[in-house]
Subunit: 498 residues, 2 copies
Amino acid sequence: MSAPRPQAEGEAAPGPPRHSGELGSTQASHRLLAYSDALLSIIATVMILPVAHTKIHPDQKLGESVQQLLLTKIAVYLMTFLIVTVAWAAHVRLFQVIELIDDVLALLNLACMMLITFLPYTFSLMASFPGVPFGIFLFSTCAVVIGLIQAVIVAYGFYHPYLLNHQIQVSENQAFYKHHILQIILRGPVLCFLAAIFSFFFIPMSYVLLGLVIFLPHITRVIIWCKNKTVGPKEDEESHRLEAFTFYLNEPLSKERVEAFSDGVYAIVATLLILDICEDNVPDSKEVKDKFHDRLIEALSEYGPNFLAYFASFVTTGLLWFVHHSLFLYITKATRFMGLLNTFSLAFIGGLPLAYQLTSEFAEKSHNEIEAIQVSCVITFFASIFQFAIWITALFHERETLHPLARYGGKEHAFMFAKLALYPCVSLGAFFLTCLLSKFSTAIFHIMQIVVPFAFLALRILVRISLAIMKSMLSLSRRKNVVLDEEETCLSPAETLS
Amino acid sequence: MSAPRPQAEGEAAPGPPRHSGELGSTQASHRLLAYSDALLSIIATVMILPVAHTKIHPDQKLGESVQQLLLTKIAVYLMTFLIVTVAWAAHVRLFQVIELIDDVLALLNLACMMLITFLPYTFSLMASFPGVPFGIFLFSTCAVVIGLIQAVIVAYGFYHPYLLNHQIQVSENQAFYKHHILQIILRGPVLCFLAAIFSFFFIPMSYVLLGLVIFLPHITRVIIWCKNKTVGPKEDEESHRLEAFTFYLNEPLSKERVEAFSDGVYAIVATLLILDICEDNVPDSKEVKDKFHDRLIEALSEYGPNFLAYFASFVTTGLLWFVHHSLFLYITKATRFMGLLNTFSLAFIGGLPLAYQLTSEFAEKSHNEIEAIQVSCVITFFASIFQFAIWITALFHERETLHPLARYGGKEHAFMFAKLALYPCVSLGAFFLTCLLSKFSTAIFHIMQIVVPFAFLALRILVRISLAIMKSMLSLSRRKNVVLDEEETCLSPAETLS
């Protein structure tokens, strides 16, 4: 049977690559990847639930309980988030090499997904029982099987070369690529396999081995770098040819997949609180009858803070998504380093609903109020400052990574700058204001929440006005000397803003 | 400022439509829609959580408790699922008219999303307190505000015509379209507004009005149809010009959005059980120490059925996604009717994890075992048969809706048929087998779960073999009369399969 790509969008003609494998017809992979991204983004954020559902008694000091949380559950959340993101990055890398799929690859990928979704659980088992061999064994085994499936996917891809990336497909030394990629993919599983074995007689060694999995690429990079410095570059041209699987920070990362993964995380986080509300906050009809005499409003007013927290967290998450969306409209090429910054930003965003829940829970109790609000401000600040960092990174290589309009001197540059700077500035401002005016901290926080959406709506006008003011001020100060160059005024406000 | 579309994919040149609105630069809407789809798919499935978390005591009869569930929570789940899907369909329709967005539209859309995510909760309030005015009032108000925001979006779009669909943009009677679309969009909110008012003095009237919102389009369709039959078609040509907003069953529905929404639902449903597992099934370290003497395996074996249920539901959901994915690869144009069938399929898929949880919980208690397994089979059957119905619908208009390869006589037709028929056949078979051999029902069920993935892997080979067998049998029987035409053999097996 032939191997067509029945895809309507973009490629008008199906253009069947008639290399005709024995099994399966070839398909474009975009939907498989979208589904995988959706699964992975859900899984990445799942460990925030145990954090969010930890009950804090209102009479307990928040300071202590936050510290308790920080030490165990938040650490587990952040670690699993990073682990899933690493798995996601490996998946992206894999499907940058394999560009078309068939039924067998789709099913193999589903099997791989199933095990990746199990990773957070095995990790939290390992974290809860650091001294028990079985926890480590389970986690390592899971990682080994995931790596093996990925290796099978690569092997299958090279066995049916028409599925591969065009660059590799036309290349002459496919065997070298195959060897290179399999080596990188299997490095992790081998270490995990050793960790699984060591778990039964020498547990510390297992942890060292598992730690090695994360740091090995960086270590090898450093070693190669040192070698090149001392001996001089050697056979570097061969590994340079392949764009993926280099572990360089400027290795390209599929922009669409970064967007899809981020969308998933933002969507889950935005709805995290409504899930709780739908499940727990529908009042019992008997209780309403007995306690509130069928007055539903009164019964619901008990849950008031929960609704407030939901709307606040939805708005903040939504606006941060909006900033992310605006940013990636102008980014033309995403790199691995940007992906890393994006991961950090997303990890903090996962904590947002929790923070807002705290603020609204303690709003009236005033005991832990300021701490909760400050934690919210700090989380918002970090989530947004990492977005800002992506923008700065993009500006460093603006010729490759940014759309002309957003570069220095571009028409959208100042506006983009303002959009990205808004949340860091506001959250930092709110944080310091609550320190100074601790009495009015709730008021400050609520004003911030209400003002920010309108600030975004009117941002373009605000930027224009401030640009105009700056321009006139600049022209006033310089009028004596020179006639102003239009280009320069476009550039300078952005610099003064920072 | 100019209005560029900084989009890398597909449209190589940014091609800025320099109609330059006052506010906001124009952007392609695909990511906004992807994010909306993610939010909506999460929200659509959220009301399954109260169903899934209803505790059933092992000594209780499942028959009764399932009936209890069926009457309240499952009904609420199905209704909210349908309501969210209706909201989703309205959203799709809206953004088939508005093709480009700017910042203002993005923010308006986020506001709209926030209220839609609140709908399930207000609906479940209304369902729990059918006699309390406030519940109805809240739901109606929510619907009114959503409708108003959508109307504002449409008005904004027509105020900045470069954002609109090309068909409307070049049309001469834009005012007619604007009027027509606003009328349809505002019809719902007006009825809901009346329902909100009536809720305070005559509740039944409110329910009638809310019911009207759903059935009004169909009623008007019937009235128009009757009119056309008696008086003859009149000014039909004007409403026919606009493809969207017709409420005809063959009105086109954006295929990408159907895929994105379905992907979201499949992803959420597939991970529904792991969310529970991650939250509740990490054993307490103290308990493990005291009760199991630090033997983690024993402690975990208590949760064994949960893990089994997770893997089973992930595999089934994953494979149903795989079928859906294969189906939509060959569908070139989705219609509203297909969307409806897809919704039904997805609604049943939402129940899958719950069903699997039941089967594994009762597997050893044998009291409610058969019922649980049969419920699982029935849900799987309906989820897959609605997918099959999409395929049948597509075949009816195969020239417009199907890729040539999947049409009658196409090379992929028989294979596609087998893929779609596999799950309905297997689940139906398992259902009847458990009726006949009730003693072995668990064994049958587990065998089914293990066999199906492998059947999918080997399906192409199986289909080929059966095609070859049929071909040889047919040629044997016809040899006396005529030499066989190759084309015909390709066609016939699919018919005999059904």
